[in-house]
């Protein structure tokens, strides 16, 4: 059952991801990206990371992608026109892609030579309480640094927007 669900949502994620690139209209690409986020959330859920799955949907699919769609709608961006690819790109595209995938597989194999198999639902730190505890004890410094980083980014956005207004 778990394997079937995993395969189904992994395939959906990959198909949506390819669709993001293939589609010519930005809105269609954005909607496909929402599909990727949603199926990733299901994969987290299958692994047992419930809080992460909910956060993935709320933050990425529900907030960030809505902003993307909103901006695309506001700018009224049109469909991009397909230009023919150059001869070298056509010739080297497929071999380079295969080489890239091979390199990735090689590095993953080298970095994690004898990792244990993943068990569905085997991850035991995925509840809201565990995540909150980890954030405020083990990962307190990275957590606070990230929040300051986001605060700086917000302040920067306000300063930039101000300048335009005057």
């Amino acid at each position: 059952m778990d394997v079937i669900l995993f395969l189904a949502f992994a395939i959906i994620a990959v198909v949506c991801a390819i669709n993001v690139v293939v589609q010519t209209h930005p809105i269609s690409s954005a909607v496909s990206l929402v599909g990727v986020m949603g199926s990733l959330a299901v994969l987290y859920l299958l692994l047992g990371a419930e809080f992460l799955a909910a956060a993935q949907v709320i933050v990425y699919a529900g907030a960030i992608m809505v902003l993307f769609v909103f901006v695309i709608m506001l700018l009224n961006a049109g469909a991009e026109s397909k230009k023919g690819r150059s001869f070298t790109a056509q010739l080297l595209g497929l071999p380079l892609w295969v080489a890239f995938l091979g390199l990735m597989a090689y590095f993953i194999q080298r970095l994690y030579p004898q990792s244990t198999r993943v068990h569905f639902g085997g991850f035991k730190g995925g509840g809201a309480a565990e995540i909150g505890h980890a954030l405020f004890t083990t990962f307190l410094l990275p957590f606070e640094v990230t929040s300051i980083l986001i605060l700086v980014a917000i302040l920067g956005a306000i300063v930039l927007a101000r300048k335009e207004m005057d």
Binding site: S28, I58, V66, V69
Partner: protein
């Protein structure tokens, strides 16, 4: 395992049948309530007191011609109502309506499923509901629809923040994300409900939640996405027949969901206002007896000749319902269900009352209100609650 699947299927069928009927009749109730606020009778022609009006509406919507304009972006145009409807109906699956019950020897909960991230699930699903409206507005290729979709997405993103903060405060007190555990923590009586519970009564966050809920469901006074005097019909201008109906139904389903959430988070779910040993289990019967007697009195009143048949029938039905509430074998599940429906219904009535009373906001007022007032107040409320909870533990 097999009995689990069968019971789950039966529960899904029952919940969805009840939910869809409620959706159809909520519309009738709303038209009646607003009509009486405006001193007119409302729907009156189809059936006694217009009671069959929803059936007529459904037949009308089903048989209407389904137009698809030639200039729309077809895949997204067709996806949008489907998305809106799915997301609106999905969140009902984690709402608990009552405690554990026993049916024909099987123990089961009056809830489709209990997730230990139930509150987050509802938030996630409702945040996905924006896409239905935004994509409908964009794919219609119509300037009114596009403006409606833009307004609605901006409004929903903005009001989601105070709403989430308002939800977080009672969660700090109850210390759980499962909706069933949330209600179990509020058991005992009205002083244990989160809206009045110590160390810090959540009245402020209850009100913020309700205001944000009005905006999230695009209801008056925040119905700018479909402001008819500026935008024709807003995001659903180009939709007809069942596609229009699914937007309409999703709006009402969202109303039911947020009312259920307000009941569960702040008003103690199915918990009675005071314990049963002080007689709270006789309240439903008393209410129905009262309603039945009022209906009978008015039915036989000589000045109301036109209601001489309908009102006595309803009076007798109410008295029968009162008798059912006194039967000991159904009391264990009927009385919690009554309290849950009464609280949710009360909030739904508030939605209609406000629709009949308040004018619409201006767009800059709408945005200023949430960012400059609701958000800081919700933040402050959360900080104070967190501080007091930390002091107590």
């Amino acid at each position: 395992m097999d009995s689990f699947i069968v019971i789950s299927l039966i529960k899904v069928a029952v919940v969805f049948a009840v939910l869809l009927t409620t959706l159809a009749y909520l519309q009738w109730v709303e038209r009646k309530v607003i009509a009486h606020i405006q001193v007119r009778p409302g729907p009156y022609r189809v059936g006694p007191h217009g009671l069959l009006q929803p059936v007529a509406d459904i037949v009308k919507l089903l048989t209407k011609e389904d137009l698809v304009p030639t200039y729309v972006n077809k895949p997204l145009y067709l996806l949008a109502p489907f998305l809106a409807m799915t997301m609106a109906l999905l969140s009902i699956s984690v709402i608990p309506f009552g405690p554990q019950i026993q049916v024909a020897g099987y123990q089961t909960y009056m809830q489709l499923t209990d997730l230990n991230i139930g509150v987050l699930f509802v938030l996630a699903v409702s945040s996905m509901g924006v896409y239905g409206i935004a994509l409908a507005g964009w794919s219609s290729n119509n300037k009114y629809a596009l403006l409606g979709g833009l307004r609605s997405s901006a409004q929903m993103i903005s009001y989601e923040l105070p709403m989430s903060l308002a939800i977080a405060a009672p969660l700090l007190i109850s210390n759980t994300l499962s909706l069933r555990r949330l209600v179990e923590k509020q058991a005992g009586g009205i002083w244990n409900w989160n809206v009045l519970h110590g160390p810090f009564p959540q009245i402020v966050s209850f009100i913020i939640f309700l205001i944000a809920a009005f905006a999230e469901t695009n209801r008056i006074p925040f119905d700018l996405p479909e402001a008819e005097n500026e935008l024709v019909a807003g995001f659903h201008t180009e939709y007809s027949s069942m596609k229009f109906a699914s937007f309409f139904m999703s709006e009402y389903a969202n109303m039911i969901t947020v009312s259920c959430m307000a009941t569960l988070l702040f008003l103690g779910g199915w918990v009675a206002p005071w314990p049963a040993e002080y007689g709270s289990s006789y309240v439903p019967a008393a209410i129905f007896v009262l309603a039945g007697l009022v209906a009978l009195y008015h039915g036989f009143h000589p000045a109301r000749r036109r209601d001489g048949y309908t009102l006595p029938v309803f009076g007798v039905l109410f008295l029968i319902a009162a008798a059912v509430f006194l039967l000991p074998m159904v009391q264990s599940w009927l009385i919690p269900l009554f309290w849950f429906c009464a609280k949710t219904g009360g909030i739904l009535f508030g939605f209609m009352w406000i629709r009949g009373t308040l004018p619409r906001f201006r767009y800059d007022q709408l945005m200023g209100f949430t960012w400059k007032f609701l958000f800081p107040v919700a933040m402050l409320n959360l900080l104070v609650t967190g501080f007091l909870v930390a002091l107590r533990s």
